[in-house]
């Protein structure tokens, strides 16, 4: 009996120690990435290539989902606001929810599953096929050459993707609310402009999405770098990337929101 309890406790302890260990390694990995970022700025083409694979290739999914999220917001918002006779506030509802929350968060979740998983698989396979060791052998630092450009590519792409998501979403809300249902166009835009503040809402959304971009890419790169060099190891690492970066995005969103919007309006 006592033996069983001890075994359970031991397993729990091992798990906790393991996760603290991994968290520490990931933090060390993050600082190493920052430390070796100098190469990126001397050779910007490395970063541009990563912006292509992280940002440009995510464009379709971001634009299409942005449009549909905005259209759904327009429909649902109209249904609810209509009962209070204030359907002119539809513009505020669509714009604020997109710019403050849905834009950065949903775009980051899509980014994690579209670009983050690809990064993990790529780095994991590079390690499995010993390309990373080959780089080290040629005295090229793999963190400076492989990891840092991907990190900066993610940090730069993410705010642009989130802004495109929000803009598409507002356009979708406009399509459904004004064109389809017939909310007054002037009220839609003017109430939106009166309620959305550049610094409080839009700039905070941009900061949020840059942080999310950093969080997702660090997790994706670390998982790839840390993956056991087997087919199974890479597949597990890819799954872990999507799960833990999605959780990290939501947790960071709560932390950032509680700092940014405390007491504001």
């Amino acid at each position: 009996m006592l033996e069983h309890v001890a075994a359970i406790l031991r397993r729990m302890g091992a798990r906790v120690i393991n996760s603290v260990w991994r968290l520490g390694l990931a933090t060390r990995f993050f600082f190493l990435t920052l430390l070796y970022s100098g190469t990126c700025f001397r050779r910007p083409h490395l970063v541009i290539k990563e912006i292509f694979s992280a940002g440009v290739l995510s464009l379709i999914i971001i634009l299409v989902s942005g449009l549909f999220v905005g259209m759904v917001l327009g429909l649902q918002g109209y249904e609810t606001l209509q009962t209070y006779g204030s359907e002119e506030a539809l513009g505020i509802l669509v714009a604020l929810s997109l710019v403050r929350e849905l834009g950065p968060v949903v775009a980051a979740l899509l980014f994690a599953s579209r670009a983050g998983s690809a990064m993990t698989a790529e780095i994991g396979l590079m390690k499995a096929t010993e390309q990373i060791s080959a780089l080290e052998m040629m005295a090229v630092d793999p963190i400076a050459r492989v990891v840092a450009p991907r990190f900066w590519g993610g940090v730069i792409s993410m705010p642009l993707l989130a802004a495109l998501f929000s803009a598409m979403g507002i356009f979708g809300g406009y399509l459904v609310g004004v064109v389809l249902i017939g909310v007054d166009e002037g009220a839609f835009w003017s109430q939106m402009q009166a309620a959305v503040d550049f610094r409080d809402d839009i700039l905070n959304g941009v900061i949020k999405s840059a942080v999310f971009g950093g969080v997702v890419t660090v997790i994706a790169l670390y998982e790839g770098y840390d993956a056991p060099p087997t087919a199974e190891g890479v597949s597990r690492a890819t799954t872990r990337t999507v799960v833990s970066s999605s959780l990290a995005i939501l947790a960071w969103d709560f932390v950032l929101t509680s700092f940014m919007f405390r007491g504001a309006s």
């Binding site: 290539k49 940002g55 642009l160 993707l161 598409m168 402009q193 009166a194 503040d197 550049f198 839009i202």
Partner: protein, 165 residues
């Protein structure tokens, strides 16, 4: 990796331009762009008996035009009144005997401060306090007064009826 360097550069350029365009759209068309407002402002205060649901950043309007924003609301421990600080654009000048009232836009809308210009020759400057104010109308008080008046009317009526015969 078969993609040529120039094509890749072109696509990244298109992506970055589109992203910045979206940001510009958000800033200009969706937002009100207050971060780049360099217009000068001055701050005035007003004491209200009751501010109702007035919040910081609520608009200050005169004749329906937004002339400023509420920047601070605090409670005065000696007079037991709410001190509302308002930031007005310095292109808007108001006489010193201007009155302030807290109004509601629509039945359930947001509350704002309405300024009603007076007739004095001297103009308000930074740090001045408005003398004439009218607090928010609290719906419960209004209903209470209405019921009280009704009851009073009823009471008077009953007395009259009683004294008639």
């Amino acid at each position: 990796m078969s993609m040529k360097k120039t094509t890749l550069d072109l696509w990244v350029g298109v992506f970055v331009a589109a992203g910045l365009g979206a940001l510009l759209f958000l800033a200009l068309r969706v937002g009100s762009f207050s971060a780049f407002e360099t217009a000068k402002t001055y701050t005035i205060q007003a004491a209200f008996e009751n501010i109702g649901g007035l919040k910081v950043r609520a608009p200050v309007k005169s004749a329906g035009v937004v002339v400023g924003r509420v920047v601070d609301i605090r409670f005065d421990n000696t007079t037991y009144e709410a001190i509302v600080s308002m930031q007005l654009g310095s292109q808007y000048k108001f006489p010193t005997d201007t009155s302030a009232a807290i109004m509601t836009s629509g039945l359930l809308g947001e509350q704002y401060v309405a300024l009603d210009a007076g007739g004095s020759d001297r103009m308000l400057s930074n740090g001045d306090t408005l003398r004439i104010t009218q607090g928010a109308v609290v719906l419960e008080n209004l209903i209470g007064k209405f019921l009280f008046n009704k009851a009073e009317e009823g009471g008077v009526g009953a007395q009259e009826e009683g004294s008639a015969p």
